[in-house]
């Protein structure tokens, strides 16, 4: 098929042709009998992995198999926030690598993902919390990440409509990462899919993996609804369902599946410039380019494979929003949905080999997977291509739990619903 390169010339030419000249963005591929690499999961991470396998490692005999349609899972269910404001050494370099890839993504894949570095601000509400944010900001700056500690007046100049004088949780300041922001999430899946397809990667939709064939301790292919597909190597990138798919190869993972909800309000004129997180409850909000407030909070807190949430968390999220921004009470919620998270035992992800030869695991993203999409794909492709972990992902090991090296940002212990 024609490999259209998107540009302003293309857009203008199409404008004069009534937009009738656009070709399908990717092929609807039929599965071949054998691939060098099969990626299970056609979401952001799987598609990014396929793209970096092709573009960075020259491996193009690759299939991405997806049980539904591309991007039907969490890449289209998140609140679109990107940031790298982490504390622990195992995490900061990885998420900063991801943010750097976001900064060059659109040129890399020739697709407008609307990457918008509008700044991520974490509010603090007590002296102790400000101290904790100062520590986090210092850890970030020691890793070369941008961070600014703002006082109350500086926050007020940015967001005059917050409730600064709440008797219980007054806003005393915040930690700002100016390079953080938001990205149009569907475009990330579509952009990676189109770019990978143009390098020859087969994107196979409506093709659910029902089994992983292991012969002599080595994974040799996947059973699917459309027959057996052989593979030299298999990468699992199906967060939310990682436990189910890994179980097909006899693995038991340090993961529980939980549901996380997100919300969009009716559209408003632009008034909310960046991304803000409330420090006294779990609440984060930004305004989409269409005008709706996009916000979310905690996971529901119990195992769930249902892509919908329960009302107590809806109430909790809206209460947090009202405490931060009382004017929000005038808004109507337009949409609400749920996605299934791989909640790992320490709150951090896994990119590693597995005890089965030729089977690689990308899992445990908790509710932080979207911002990690480029680095996840980059490091997973590196792992699959070279059989060794990428420098910035070498702490994200599967055996870190057994070895006693968890990466527990929240210090909550092995209790997934607390991360």
């Amino acid at each position: 098929m024609a490999k259209t390169r998107y540009s302003i010339v293309q857009v203008l030419a199409q404008a004069f042709r009534g937009q009738r000249g656009w070709a399908p963005v990717w092929r609807d591929a039929e599965p071949k009998a054998q691939y060098d690499v099969i990626i299970v999961g056609g979401g952001g991470h799987g598609l990014a992995t396929a793209w970096y396998l092709a573009s960075q490692h020259g491996i193009t005999n690759v299939a991405v198999v997806e049980k539904g349609y591309l991007g039907s899972g969490n890449v289209g269910r998140n609140t679109t926030i990107i940031r790298s404001n982490y504390l622990l050494p195992g995490n900061v370099p990885f998420y900063e690598h991801s943010l750097k890839l976001w900064e060059g993504l659109e040129q890399d894949i020739n697709y407008n993902a609307m990457v918008s570095q509008r700044g991520v601000l974490n509010l603090c509400h007590s002296d102790a919390q400000r101290d904790a944010y100062a520590r986090r900001g210092n850890a970030m700056r020691l890793h070369g990440v941008d961070a600014e500690l703002l006082d109350r007046d500086a926050v007020r100049r940015m967001y005059p409509f917050f409730d600064y004088d709440s008797a219980r949780f007054p806003i005393v300041g915040g930690l700002l990462q100016p390079r953080g922001g938001s990205v149009r999430h569907d475009a990330v899946a579509w952009g990676y899919a189109r770019a990978a397809d143009q390098r020859g990667v087969d994107l196979i939709q409506n093709c659910e993996v029902t089994g992983i064939r292991v012969e002599g301790g080595r994974a040799v292919g996947v059973e699917t609804g459309r027959g057996f597909i052989g593979a030299g190597k298999i990468g699992l990138a199906c967060a939310g369902n990682s436990s189910r798919v890994a179980a097909m190869a006899g693995l038991r993972l340090p993961i529980e599946s939980h549901v996380l909800q997100a919300f969009v309000s009716e559209g408003l004129k632009p008034f909310f410039d960046g991304v803000v997180t409330y420090g006294a409850g779990h609440f984060y909000v930004s305004q989409s380019d269409k005008g709706g407030l996009v916000f979310g909070g905690d996971i529901d807190g119990y195992n769930s494979y249902a892509q919908r949430g329960n009302l107590p968390v809806v109430e909790d999220v809206c209460e947090s929003g009202m405490a931060l921004m009382p004017g929000m009470g005038r808004l109507r919620v337009l949409r609400q949905w749920g996605g299934i998270m791989d909640m790992s035992m320490d709150g951090s992800p896994i990119i590693d080999r597995t005890p089965v030869d030729g089977l690689y695991l990308n899992a445990g993203w908790c509710y932080g997977g979207f911002k990690a999409t480029p680095a996840s794909g980059w490091c997973f492709a590196h792992l699959i291509a070279r059989d060794e972990p990428h420098e910035v992902a070498k702490a994200l090991r599967l055996d870190r739990f057994a070895q006693g090296y968890p990466i527990d940002e929240r210090g909550a212990g092995a209790q997934p619903n607390l991360h």
Partner: protein, 93 residues
């Protein structure tokens, strides 16, 4: 989601605190590191019927074992965790 507490009757899930898989059993202190790792970290995480621990924090403070389908939130059975533990205690008489 609503849970029928054996002591309090039907209550909203927001009254309860979740503690995860009820099938994992604390190993003997002398067990191997692998056994302890499996107990602390590894879970079956099934997409279907799941046996799980809930604590009635805003009610009678009882620990419950709830049998629930995690795809539909249908609840099949709720038992006091104490009764579950007593039923599986080995008979030593």
């Amino acid at each position: 989601m609503r849970i029928i507490c054996p002591l309090c009757g039907e209550r909203g899930a927001e009254e309860f605190v979740y503690h995860g898989d009820a099938t994992v059993r604390r190993p003997h202190p002398d067990s191997s590191a692998e056994t302890w790792n499996a107990y602390v970290h590894l879970r079956d995480n099934p997409a279907g019927r799941h046996s799980e621990l809930w604590y009635h924090a805003a009610g009678c403070h009882a620990w419950l074992v709830v049998e629930r389908d995690v795809r539909t939130h249908e609840i099949f059975a709720v038992t006091l965790a104490q009764d579950v533990a007593l039923a599986r205690r080995p008979v030593t008489a």
